[in-house]
């Protein structure tokens, strides 16, 4: 091997060595970043995205972290996540308890977004779904204790539809009503005004990301009475008649008279003595 060949060999080795070193180093950085990103991308439950935000996974690819939505929010409720916080760096969010969305009709935050991370096709704020309010604690909500509150019901910008009051019997007092707040997911936008308004030290009604707040019925599951109503008739034909297992000479009418004893005499007038009434059924029997 001549001198120049040796030198070339060395240079090639050096070159390949350097290349490998750089590639490995950057590969390690990539692995670290990927793992960090996985962890950093999970949002805490109390962190709510602005209206129109794409589903979280898409949002993180679309949001370029410019903060223009933050600037155009007239109520200044939005913040950008910073390093050390549990929100992906630079992405906008609000905390309902301290600063809920005031549901501007013109939705300026969406208009400000340069990338469609906040979906520009959303033009009706009532159609936005930032999250879902949930009455999380019936033990501390004073409505469940029979006290009048209804603050969440009254503050709700979609009053009566997103939160309604369900009047129930107050079993404790026996004579009052309970005014129970009930959230309806088909109308609730997750703005969080109810959570801020809740009079408790720690809100009993809270806004959660929808996937945390909603249950889902099994896809195969059908509710018979709804299916019947939808079809207008019984799904099983003919409509099965229920048979009660009763002794001979006795019939039962569920929605009418109740138990019918065949050959029953005309009802006797009520006598003055309670004893006669109590003994009534025995006296006639043979």
């Amino acid at each position: 091997m001549s001198e120049s060949e040796k030198k070339n060999e060395l240079n090639r080795r050096q070159f390949l060595g350097n290349l490998l070193r750089t590639a490995c180093g950057v590969g390690l950085v990539g692995m670290g970043l990927g793992l960090y990103a996985q962890r950093a991308a999970s949002l805490p439950a109390q962190v709510i995205r602005p209206p129109g935000a794409l589903p979280e996974e898409d949002f993180l690819g679309a949001c370029i972290r410019c903060g223009l939505c933050v600037r155009d929010c007239p109520y200044d409720i939005l913040s950008l996540g910073a390093i050390g916080e549990q929100v992906p760096t630079g992405t906008p969010y609000f905390i309902a308890r301290t600063g809920p969305c005031e549901m501007c009709e013109d939705i300026p935050c969406i208009k400000a977004c340069p990338t469609n991370a906040l979906d520009h096709s959303l033009t009706d704020i009532e159609a936005s779904r930032m999250g879902l309010a949930v009455v999380v604690d019936q033990e501390s909500c004073i409505a469940f204790q029979g006290l009048r509150c209804e603050v969440c019901f009254n503050i709700c910008p979609i009053r009566g539809r997103a939160i309604s009051l369900d009047l129930q019997h107050n079993a404790r007092s026996g004579k009052h009503a309970l005014f129970i707040p009930v959230v309806h997911s088909e109308a609730c936008t997750g703005c969080g005004l109810c959570e801020r308004a809740c009079i408790l030290e720690e809100a009993a009604i809270k806004v959660f990301p929808t996937h945390l707040a909603k249950g889902e019925l099994g896809k195969h599951y059908r509710l018979g009475w709804r299916e019947k109503a939808r079809k207008g008739e019984a799904l099983v034909s003919p409509d099965a008649e229920h048979h009660y297992n009763l002794p001979e000479g006795v019939q039962y009418d569920l929605q009418g008279k109740g138990l019918i004893l065949e050959g029953e005499a005309v009802e006797k007038p009520v006598t003055k003595s309670p004893l006669d009434t109590l003994n009534n059924s025995f006296l006639d029997k043979p």
Binding site: N18, R21, T22, A23, G25, V26, V29, G30, L33, G34, Y36, A37, Q38, A40, A41, E57, D58, F59, L60, G61, A62, C63, I64, R65, C66, G67, L68, V70, R71, D72, S79, L80, A82, I83, G84, E85, P88, T89, G90, A112, C113, P114, T115, N116, A117, H120
Partner: protein
């Protein structure tokens, strides 16, 4: 290696302190001024520019969008709004003209941190530097463009990008982001000379490629006046770019610093006591100096 205390002495003696720091001062004014126009709104209610370097709206008319972050967004599958596309076009055009890495030396706030580290390095005489490849930044660039394709977390680089963390942090609140900036500072000071900006930063690498054929360039058109004091090499954050232009006369190389690694920071122009360097176009040609008028500056004998 020349002594830190000596760097710039000749330039100051020949041109005065102000002219020997002219572009350094202008760059600081530019970097701080850009921060100021984003900060005047939140601090004093005087809204000039909204947003940050990723995307902004100036005086409610001028949209500017960072093509690098937008590219990452598009790789994870988003289509930007028209304003953002216009913003990208303006930014691309601007840096194509003035030089891609003008972003690094005239806009990026991290530059002030790494310049400080480089200055302290010279002052303290810290020579030790780990052998990073200057090409590592292109690997980093590739990595940051691949991650949006494979990760569920979308624009992954923006979770940790020191450039945006610092700028956005100053304008919107930085949290623990200072730790990251301190990390970059210490890395440049103790681990590798010009380690971040000159070797690893994918933002710089992107703008480097963007401005690879840019029109405004630093040149050494008066290279025959060079007295080999080496101060420009000592002060330059990308010293490998100087030699072809400064010493390429015999090989008939252009006196223009053509490498897109050059950040157009103009420190070499400041630091040179012989007026060798200047800003000019891509096609600038050498100024022939006769032996007697080597010390002439702008037609005036000194």
């Amino acid at each position: 290696m020349i002594e830190a205390g000596k760097i710039g002495k000749e330039a100051i003696a020949n041109k005065g302190w102000l002219m020997a720091h002219r572009y350094l001062i202008l760059r600081r004014i530019s970097q701080l001024g850009i921060l100021a126009i984003f900060l005047s709104g939140p601090l004093f209610g005087l809204w000039i520019a909204k947003g940050n370097l990723a995307s902004s709206l100036t005086l409610n008319v001028l949209p500017l969008t960072d093509p690098y972050v937008m590219l990452q967004g598009m790789l994870s599958g988003v289509m930007p709004q028209t304003a953002a596309l216009i913003g990208v076009a303006i930014v691309v055009l601007f840096y194509f003209v003035v030089g891609g890495r003008v972003y690094c030396s005239w806009v990026c706030p991290v530059n002030m941190v790494t310049d400080l580290a480089a200055w302290l390095r010279r002052r303290l005489g810290l020579r030790a530097s780990s052998q990073l490849s200057r090409n590592a930044r292109y690997w980093m660039l590739g990595l940051t463009l691949v991650l949006p394709l494979v990760s569920a977390a979308g624009i992954v680089w923006e979770l940790v990008n020191p450039v945006s963390v610092m700028f956005r942090g100053i304008v919107f609140g930085i949290g623990a982001g200072w730790l990251l900036i301190a990390g970059v500072f210490l890395f440049d000071l103790l681990v590798a000379k010009d380690g971040w900006c000159g070797h690893l930063c994918p933002v710089g690498a992107f703008y480097n490629l963007l401005g690879s054929k840019s029109l405004v360039k630093v040149n050494a058109v008066r290279r025959s006046a060079c007295d080999d004091c080496m101060e420009c090499y000592a002060i330059c954050p990308e010293p490998q770019v100087i030699k072809p232009a400064l010493k390429g006369e015999k090989k008939h190389l252009s006196p223009v610093i053509l490498s897109s690694d050059c950040t157009n920071c103009g420190r070499c122009i400041d630091i040179c006591g012989k007026h060798v360097f200047s800003y000019g176009g891509r096609g600038a040609v050498e100024v022939k100096l006769s032996g007697s008028n080597k010390d002439i500056q702008g037609g005036v004998k000194v």
